[in-house]
């Protein structure tokens, strides 16, 4: 699989990472090399194999649906680059 510059641009937008135009071609080559190497998985016969999602078969315990934590507003916003009155301050998204 070889990625072109347009695909790298699309991935960078999905990933919300700004990539300068000049970096698209080198990135396309790097990512293509990695994907090319990954493609050997095609050799493995996996027709009826169920995908593995959880490696340890653990039965999850049940608990009462009760609030056991909360009122942490100050702690939650303490590290925010910008906060006001217990809220995160972000840019306007609705005009």
């Amino acid at each position: 699989m070889s990625l072109d510059k347009a695909t790298v641009r699309r991935i960078s937008e999905l990933a919300r990472i700004e990539v300068p135009d000049a970096d698209l071609e080198p990135l396309a080559q790097e990512l293509s090399a990695i994907l090319g190497w990954i493609e050997q998985l095609g050799e493995v016969e996996t027709g009826d194999v169920a995908p593995l999602r959880s490696v340890m078969p653990i039965t999850h315990p049940w608990r009462e649906d009760v609030v056991d934590d909360g009122n942490q507003q100050a702690a939650i916003t303490e590290n925010a680059p910008s906060s006001h009155d217990g809220y995160f301050v972000v840019q306007r998204v609705v005009e």
């Binding site: 990933a15 919300r16 994907l35 998985l41 939650i76 995160f88």
Partner: protein, 490 residues
Amino acid sequence: MTALTALGLAEAKRRLASREISATELAQAHLDAMERARGLNAFITETPELALSMAAAADARLVKGEAGLLEGLPIAIKDLFCTEGVSTTAGSHILDGFTPTYESTVTRNLWAAGAVSLGKTNLDEFAMGSSNMTSYHGPVRNPWTKPQDNAALVPGGSSGGSAAAVAARIALAATGTDTGGSIRQPAAFCGITGIKPTYGRCSRWGIVAFASSLDQAGAFGRTVEDTALLLQAMAGYDPKDSTSADLPVPDWTTALSGKVKGLRIGIPAEYRVDGMPTAIEELWQAGADWLRAEGAEIVEINLPHTKYALPTYYIIAPAEASSNLARYDGMRYGLRVEGENLKATYEKTRAAGFGAEVKRRIMIGTYVLSAGYYDAYYLKAQKVRRRIVEDFEAAFEKVDAILTPTAPSAAFRVGEKMDDPVAMYLNDVFTVPSSLAGLPAMSVPAGLSADGLPLGLQLIGRAWDEQTVLDAGLALERAAGFEALPYGLL
């Protein structure tokens, strides 16, 4: 009297218990060593004041006879564990200024056991790397160098700072995390012991997430006993991590015997890779001979899907990382770089905050999860992952543990392999398969390369059977008699 920093964790514990030494003098000796070894860049954040106040409290408890499992023992914490009131960076620029308001479960367990915090150790950014060179805070230098050659070598990664700190006698032991080999490979490169327990043995709560189906905390020490002791204090069920196992933590240190008589030890044919240095091949054979001499039976086994483990890992780990790292958007913590609108702010923040390797993995992960490619890559990888798990299940029908080299080479130079991601990924060829299967595995220092650098042997056990891994590890440790020290250390 032996220098306090030359003691092991278990030996220091015995001397503290007999009041032969105090926690305060033990902490001070390690703080002095930390200051002398700053050139290694093993720590991102040093916590000397915290260390001395924790040591004073430990001394008070020792006097009162209320000592915990690690009372008064100075240790280092990989800077991936959130520590309340102490900066936590994950080796990234994007977490600039982040000081957690909560404590990870593992470190909470350690402080409750009386351990003393020396500081937070350097690591590859978000634990993504095998050299510690991707850290925003600069590379760590391995305390080992080749004889007659002072070139800086990598400590391995991602837990490179922790491994270097333990090898350089700055910390008695240290925590690490292992997603694909991030404890075992640096342990091998630095000539110390490192264990990744079974997935679910330690709580992941409060550990900065990389790939959640693989991430597992573990321990570094200079002996098998020390490593077991630290792990014992770290492990345990935690309702805050739904993948943490509700099982009692065995008393591994008390049970530790080093007995391997009657154990069947598997040697997987597929781990004989092209271009493996002769010294590693010979050491692997020596390891098998040592265990046989102690009464173990050596059994040739096959793990047929071994060669597919790395490419499987490099789909699953980046996919999970791309999802986990979506949270770094400059809104709630860390770096924010303002753009002309919210989307531009996200994009600029993440472009400035993440390093090249992290961006590469986020983009690979985003691609393999994107519409039209999910089945071909991600689902395929999950299916191959099951094949790899089945390989181990079949092997453990025949054997009790598996012996392999830890890494395909000794430590390499700082700066090497940075222009070839796939060559760098191959460092983890022997450690990734057991990570994918969630199995306990440990690296024990066992010999030296032709260049005089440490080499490790890896033991892999059945799920939840850390005890067999530790006992076989202790048998290797006794037989290998590895006593070499990094240059300049006595």
